[in-house]
Amino acid sequence: MQISLTVNGASHALDVPANTLLVDIIREHLGLTGTHVGCDTSQCGACTVHMNGSAVKSCSILAGQADGAEITTIEGIGTPDDLHPMQAAFRECHALQCGFCTPGMIMRAIDLVEKSPDLSNQAVREGLEGNLCRCTGYHNIVKAVLLAADATRA
């Protein structure tokens, strides 16, 4: 099927089988491999991207559902020289170990901070329920999200 979508500001027209997942469009067709596939069963959140301004699991969205959508991936939020405040906070707080879950964590955390400006530690933990880290636990991740929320408000 023919679909068109905007990814990180660039328009793409693609011809893909109807059973193609959004994450496969992002990784295989567009070569943006920062978005990860962790569990492939909709649980871990490593594949989280923004679709029309909301965090979604790109492994659970079909090509047709993404037709016409605005997608932002981890590659679209900052550059190595100009990190997004959430990326800077993750670096500052050492909020990662292996880094596999990090792109999904950061994309979800940005959405969380944008929609809930006044966040408590508990609200961050609940807000990240759809993202699993299997290395290091969540303490530093929560710290980083709260730091980025403060930076955004300041």
Partner: protein, 266 residues
């Protein structure tokens, strides 16, 4: 995932026509249950009919003691809706407890209620508030809607379009979530309509149902202790690795007790 034909119709008529023409058509709403099911090859529809393009299935309205929500309204929209928070806060709170944030950004009211997962949250509200389910061809009362495990009154090809929720004087929802999936091991919605109490239960049985003995007891004496002591027959309750039928029956009493406490504190 097996191959299928994908359609995104603009009208209900086109959607039902596509369904009737398909060998084995499935409707796709938010897809947060259906897509993982397709990925595991547990279903192999010939045609997927995406309902996202049908304008009449969206939107939230309140008036005359009813909150009316289009079936294609996503959980996150219900949770964040100012209208629902003001007129029917129990429903926005319930929607905010479904799955996780990413799932709530895609999953829809209609998808959840049409699928009728025994552990889904919305069915407790449909039952507990005595909602009216509107479809492409008729209206169905909540008490007639849920029939069995993943089985509802919907006929093949019939599309759930909108649900009208009566606004109670006060109501509260409590659930014991599975810590991994956030599905309800047991969830109870207690609603007070002028002293007449309705109790909608999800997670415990094959589908959502009214705890009628508890309703009678609470209508006579609305206290947490009465909820805790109410009779909850575990006869057809689910038993699995998470909880036995008897444990679920106890959870129903405990969740009801907490819901009544919340409701009285309003």
């Amino acid at each position: 995932m097996y191959q299928f034909n994908y359609h995104r119709p603009a009208t209900l008529e086109e959607a039902t026509r596509l369904f009737s023409e398909a060998d084995d058509g499935f409707y796709l709403s938010g897809g947060q249950t259906l897509i993982p099911t397709l990925k595991q090859r547990l279903a192999s529809p010939s045609d997927l009919i995406d309902l996202s393009g049908i304008e009449g299935m969206k939107g939230i309205e309140a008036g005359n003691g009813v909150v009316s929500i289009g079936a294609f309204t996503r959980h996150a929209e219900v949770a964040a809706s100012g209208v629902i928070r003001e007129t029917l806060p129990v429903l926005s709170a319930l929607a905010g407890l479904i799955g996780d944030a990413q799932v709530r950004n895609m999953g829809t009211l209609g998808g959840s209620v049409a699928n009728s997962d025994p552990a889904a949250d919305y069915p407790a509200a449909v039952i507990g508030l005595g909602a009216t389910v509107h479809t492409s061809s008729r209206t169905i009362a909540a008490d007639d809607y849920f029939q069995d495990l993943f089985e509802t009154a919907l006929e093949p090809g019939e599309i759930l379009t909108r649900i009208d929720f009566p606004v109670p004087d006060r109501a509260a929802y409590r659930k014991f979530p599975n810590p991994a999936s956030r599905y309800a091991v047991a969830g109870v919605l207690v609603a007070d309509f002028g002293g007449s109490i309705r109790v909608g239960v999800t997670g415990a049985g094959p589908c959502a149902f009214r705890a009628t003995a508890m309703e009678e007891a609470l209508s006579a004496d609305l206290t947490p202790a009465v909820a805790r002591a109410a009779e909850v027959p575990a006869g057809n309750f689910n038993s699995d690795l998470h909880a036995s039928a008897e444990y679920r029956a106890n959870l129903v009493r405990v969740m009801a007790e907490r819901a009544v406490s919340d409701l009285l504190a309003e």
